[in-house]
């Protein structure tokens, strides 16, 4: 999968990684049983500290998205796909409504973020 890091964003570097893996799992880009890159390799390619990647992996493990296995690395855990179906359906709904009201994606995202922080 594609990993991207933008240091000029407000979101911390490790949180950017966590978000991407979460999205990839939700969208089925990462399938259960698939292996995430070795932390050291990912860190080297993205010019990150290896601890940043490890911290992201640990957070993903605490959330139950991946398993960290000694010698085998980070594996995406098997979980029912229905987990995300409702959320994805709700997002479809949001997008449809936003389009109908001619809300820009940015404006809609801002609304979503505000809803999270309230």
């Amino acid at each position: 999968m594609l990993f991207r890091i933008d240091p000029s964003l407000d979101e911390t570097l490790f949180a950017q990684l966590v978000t991407q893996v979460r999205l990839a799992v939700a969208q089925g880009v990462l399938q259960p049983g698939e292996r995430l890159p070795a932390a050291r390799e990912l860190a080297a390619s993205l010019d990150l500290n290896v601890h940043t990647v490890l911290r992201a992996y640990q957070l993903l493990r605490d959330d139950g998205l991946i398993e960290l296995r000694r010698g085998r690395g980070a594996i995406v855990t098997a979980r029912p796909a229905a987990d995300h179906a409702k959320l994805l359906a709700a997002i479809d709904e949001v997008v449809r409504e936003a389009r109908a009201l001619r809300f820009s994606p940015e404006a809609t995202a801002t609304l979503l973020k505000e809803a999270f922080s309230s």
Binding site: M1, L2, F3, R4
Partner: protein, 332 residues
Amino acid sequence: MTTGTEPARAQRQRMRLVGLAVTTCGLAILALAAAVALSWRGDLPDPVATHWGAQGSPDGFMSLGAFLWAGFGSGALLVLGFGAVTTLWGQSAASRRIGAGTTIWLALFLALLQLGTLHVQLGLADAREAGGIGGALTLATVASLVPAVLVGLLLPGDPPQPADAPVSPEASRVPLAPNERAVWIGHTGAGPGIALGAVAIVVLVALAVVSGVWGLLIVAALLVGVFVAMFAFTVRVDETGLLVRSSAGWPRTHVPLDEVLRASVVQVHPLREFGGWGWRVGRGGRVGIVLRAGEGLLVERTGGRSIVVTVADAGTAAALLNTLADRHRRTL
């Protein structure tokens, strides 16, 4: 493109030199084996045994002259064929290495097998008394592989050949912010070639047990090594370029960003285009790391070189490689 320039001339020279050298060596090995066999003429039965049945005793016979001509003729045809492939399709170091290694391996294997076949008949009055050739077969297999692998390993790689043109504008891109860093990592896993390999290994082990030719176990062990190396690959696209690496650590190959002309997605048919699965040379000298049929990442490279890797989500990998290559050319 780069035709007529100094690097292109040097590249054509390399291809010709390696092709000519291995063809000459291959023919010399075959001729030497024939000469040694002829020097044994006085101690060999007439006719000589040339084929062995399943029970390990000879069941085919020929005159020595006919046997040597048949061996030299078929060997020379194969050497000339693979030598030509090395000369014409050796743009990439990997193609030259595989072509040269295969040429030397074929010549040595056929020469040693021929000599081994005759050696077990030295001093016999009647070729029907000849024993088995399991030992000769094993020796020919192992002793021919070692020098062939050495030839492949010792051949020099390609010198850097940076592109002088931008990445093809029609090729796909990934939108990246100016400060954004990105990497794409994918895996390509066991395909049908591995199943065939597993069957071959099991058959070899069974044959060794049934026939008592324990040398076959060495061949099986060598095959296990090959299949471990070819079992799975990691594919990575980042600011250093494209890296394809076996899960065993070796073999691996790297395409730097400044040699990328265009990356795209293709449908790969390993059997049709590469004659099988694994790390291969295909038509036109294209290097293929092809473990299954289907989606693959094609990278067209300077010097008329190209490489294909079968991997899922190749479209994203291609787009990122084009984007990073763009960015690399702009920062020069």
